[in-house]
């Protein structure tokens, strides 16, 4: 009896150990190794960074509301454009997609967790440290970094005491990204459920697998470049200083060898999210699954051989211009395959327009506008006119805001009930969509006209001929910024409560392993691997 009791007690302890829920209090978040907790932390962090970077954008748009200097001095304006970009790229968009990856990849491949849970925790907190340093650099003597997110020398070498902080922050963020990528690759390659071959993986998993390889290939290049900036600044090397025989243009080549794949690092997971949502709300399987995978891989490959289209105006041989022009245009082919496949998926589908689908559709239209303006800029002789104007600002914001950010919002609205166990307020989410979709166009579309008329980017003051479109753009900026408070409220309200969500969540009967677990997804899932047929 005693023995049985002890045995039972031991078994009970063992079960407690294996099936425990989250720890209590702040220690849960500091020490967690659970992929869902870490995914939540990444998503909350990226939302906070989105609001901080957004506040900087509003300051920029407030200054540009009218010609003349209104609110800030030019140096601080330059700091705002620089730090806004660094925060949005490395602190908001990338961590948001990493958060979605942390939450969804184990659920989608039937894994109990990420393969390297402790490194997962470390990656997250390293990122928090990185952005704490970057934001603190704003308060250093001489102000924050003000050379644009590209950190071109020799300008960046004039940064004050903030320089080493910013460079260290970039190193930390890069290390965090590399560790996150390693984790994603080893998880996908080793922990897929039995029967889930590579070509049975959900598209979101595929796009993240390719993105993770891209990250590992280019992040060290950027880290190397900023390390050399650091030695040029502090140890009197002259990698990029013409006075010592170095070459500032070399930095541009290195930066864009990283910078162009970085664009795809932000957009490929967005492609994956949209590829999950459109089939669900079209009630049809994704059209051309295999071609979607190959198109993603092709885009990733091509992203390595197009970098110099960012620097046609520095001067390069005609053959070089032709090569980079044509290779850039080639990217339109796999991207066109994707747009065609999403459209074909909807063709004759039984469509419904829940918030995730609305955001995915807006992505489809508006990302394509950004893609087309990219094609225009790929034409080398024409790019001489567009270079460093607001046309460029309009182009990449179309790709990144109604492109990457809308896809992330679509993903959040798609999976939020699975995370919280509650349905969110559809009416408010619809309003959030319409306000965002309208204001994002009011914000960015006029910037095409400003750029074509010759308004340069990164300036705090401008000629009066640009006043009208700037005013409209700023109104759009404030409308878009304020609309995002609705997004925060919808998420907060959903986390607090609401109608219970079923396991499948959507009437459209979405496909995939994540919809086979209850909502909210239990703290531990797939402890016994599911079998995929």
């Amino acid at each position: 009896m005693s023995s049985t009791h002890q045995h039972g007690h031991a078994a009970h302890d063992h079960a407690d150990h294996d099936d425990h829920g989250p720890a209590k209090g702040v220690m849960r978040w500091l020490t967690t190794t659970n992929h869902k907790d870490i995914g939540t932390m990444y998503l909350v962090f990226s939302l906070v960074m989105f609001l901080v970077g957004g506040a900087m954008a509003l300051l920029i748009r407030a200054e540009l509301f009218m010609p003349g200097m209104q609110l800030v001095d030019p140096g601080f304006f330059n700091t705002m454009t620089t730090v806004h970009a660094l925060i949005m790229v490395f602190g908001a968009v990338m961590p948001a997609t990493v958060g979605l990856a942390n939450w969804m990849i184990p659920l989608q491949i039937g894994a109990p967790d990420m393969a390297l849970p402790r490194m997962n925790n470390f990656s997250f907190w390293l990122l928090v440290s990185a952005f704490s340093l970057l934001i603190l650099s704003l308060f250093m003597p001489g102000g924050g970094p003000a050379s644009g997110w590209t950190l071109y020398p020799p300008l960046v070498l004039q940064t004050g005491d903030a320089f080493p902080l910013a460079i260290f922050a970039i190193h930390l963020a890069g290390a965090s990204s590399i560790m996150g990528s390693i984790n994603i690759i080893v998880t996908i390659m080793n922990l897929r459920a039995p029967g889930m071959s590579l070509l049975k993986m959900p598209l979101f998993v595929w796009t993240w697998l390719i993105t993770a390889y891209l990250l590992i290939a280019v992040m060290p290049v950027f880290a190397g470049a900023v390390t050399m900036l650091l030695t040029d600044h502090f140890f009197h090397t002259t990698f990029f200083a013409a006075s010592g025989g170095g070459d500032p243009v070399l930095y541009q080549h290195i930066f864009w060898f990283f910078g162009h794949p970085e664009v795809y690092i932000m957009i490929l997971p967005a492609f994956g999210i949209v590829s999950e949502i459109i089939p669900t709300f079209s009630r049809k399987p994704l059209f051309g699954y295999d071609s979607m995978v190959y198109a993603t891989a092709s885009i990733a490959f091509l992203s390595f051989i197009v970098w110099a289209h960012h620097m046609f105006t520095v001067g390069m041989p005609l053959a070089g211009e032709m090569f980079f022009m044509l290779s850039t245009m080639l990217i339109a082919v796999p991207t066109g395959v994707k747009v065609f496949n999403w459209t074909a998926t909807m063709w004759k589908g039984s469509l419904s327009f829940e918030p995730p689908m609305l955001f995915a559709l807006a992505f489809l239209f508006l990302f394509t506008i950004g893609g087309f303006s990219g094609l225009m800029m790929a034409i080398a002789p024409v790019d001489f006119q567009y270079h460093d104007t607001y046309f460029i600002v309009a182009h990449f914001h179309y790709v990144l805001v109604p492109g990457a950010v809308f896809a992330i919002m679509a993903g959040v609205y798609y999976w939020l009930p699975k995370w919280t166990g509650h349905m969110y307020d559809m009416k408010l989410a619809n309003r959030h969509f319409w306000l965002s979709a309208i204001f994002v166009n009011v914000l960015f579309f006029p910037q095409h006209f400003l750029g074509l008329a010759g308004m340069p980017r990164r300036i705090p003051d401008y000629s009066t001929q640009f006043a009208d479109w700037n005013m409209i753009s700023s109104i759009g900026g404030f409308g878009f910024g304020l609309s995002q408070l609705l997004f925060v409220y919808v998420i907060w309200k959903c986390a607090k409560g609401g109608a219970r969500a079923t396991a499948e969540v959507w009437d459209a009967r979405p496909k995939g392993l994540e919809w086979t677990v209850p909502s909210p997804a239990p703290y531990h899932t797939f402890e016994q691997a599911p079998v995929v047929k």
Partner: protein, 41 residues
């Protein structure tokens, strides 16, 4: 009851992790080294 990765899976996870980490580190070091070698002396 939790069923973690098998011993074989753990071995493959370790191997892939080390390989990828060395790749990243190698790119970083090779990149700086090539710039140092090309720098004017």
């Amino acid at each position: 009851m939790s069923q973690g990765p098998t011993a074989e899976q753990r071995r493959r996870i370790r191997r892939t992790t080390v390989l990828l980490a060395l790749t990243a580190l190698g790119i970083y070091v090779a990149f700086i080294a090539s710039s140092v070698l090309k720098a004017p002396h």
